[in-house]
């Protein structure tokens, strides 16, 4: 009797595992680009779409390097680094861009948390970097003065 129940349990759990891996495969597929995340909306709305009401903690354990003064808002270099383990995703948001989310990075355990990129900034504002580590959200932000932004950027 016991072994019979165990077999049913095994069969059910195998089915669950298959279903779970199918969900993961779907999430890892091309559907992952989400128009809602990259929509033109105020930064607070985008934050709510990305993270709901989950609290975001400011941290000193993620380094964010951006220029204090960016002469050309069309090309603003950004460098992100961290020694923290288990960071699965990193988001770059530009507070006052018409489309605030610049990029979201999915980082596997084979990669380190070190990213450089070049973003557009429409005007002077904060750049936010938010990282998902296990179940918490960590944030670092820096102000960038943009000399020449506006049309053609953001």
């Amino acid at each position: 009797m016991r072994s019979f129940q165990r077999r049913i349990f095994l069969r059910k759990s195998t089915r669950l595992a298959v279903a779970a891996s199918a969900i993961f495969a779907a999430r890892a597929g091309h559907a992952a680009w989400n128009a809602e995340h990259f929509a033109g909306a105020p930064a607070d709305d985008i934050l709510a779409r990305l993270f709901g009401r989950q609290p975001i903690l400011e941290t000193g354990q993620i380094s964010l390097s951006v220029p204090e003064i960016a002469e050309d808002g069309a090309v603003v270099p950004i460098t992100i680094g961290s020694e923290l383990e288990n960071i699965e995703r990193v988001y770059i948001l530009v507070e006052k861009n018409p489309t605030p989310l610049a990029a979201e990075f999915e980082i596997s355990s084979a990669a380190m948390v070190f990213i450089t990129a070049r973003i557009k900034m429409a005007e002077s504002c904060n750049v936010w970097v938010i990282a998902r580590q296990d179940n918490q959200l960590l944030m670092v932000k820096k102000w960038v003065n943009v000399t020449h932004g506006g049309c053609g950027t953001g």
């Binding site: 990029a103 999915e106 084979a110 990669a111 973003i119």
Partner: protein
């Protein structure tokens, strides 16, 4: 029109990958300086970096990434001879990809 350059550098503690992509990254809000017409949105949506055919980094992006995107990533040290590939797909469903074999002397 498009193109992708990939370089790697081996150090003791990581393998650095640098990627330069030729792409206009138009966000749909710019106007043609001559005609004054809006330039349609044309930007990369997804970039995938694979190590020996296994995805190690994925990036979702839109028109707030600068024209001709340049990225640097670091992987935990990989072996010489390992294959790194990158590919992207944009909002017009155009794609491009590049393969790169890591070696001691990949600084070309």
């Amino acid at each position: 029109m498009s193109g992708m350059k990939i370089r790697s550098q081996q150090t003791a503690s990581y393998t650095e990958i640098r990627l330069l992509i030729t792409h206009p990254m138009e966000n749909g809000r710019n106007r043609d300086p001559v005609t004054g017409d809006l330039i349609p949105a044309h930007f990369i949506e997804e970039l995938t970096l694979k190590l020996n055919d296994v995805t190690v980094i994925r990036v979702n992006m839109a028109g707030s990434i600068a024209k001709n995107p340049f990225f640097t990533f670091r992987l935990k040290p990989v072996r010489n001879g390992d294959k790194i590939s990158a590919n992207w797909i944009d909002n017009r469903r155009q794609t491009d990809s590049v393969d790169h074999i890591v070696s001691e002397t990949t600084e070309r």
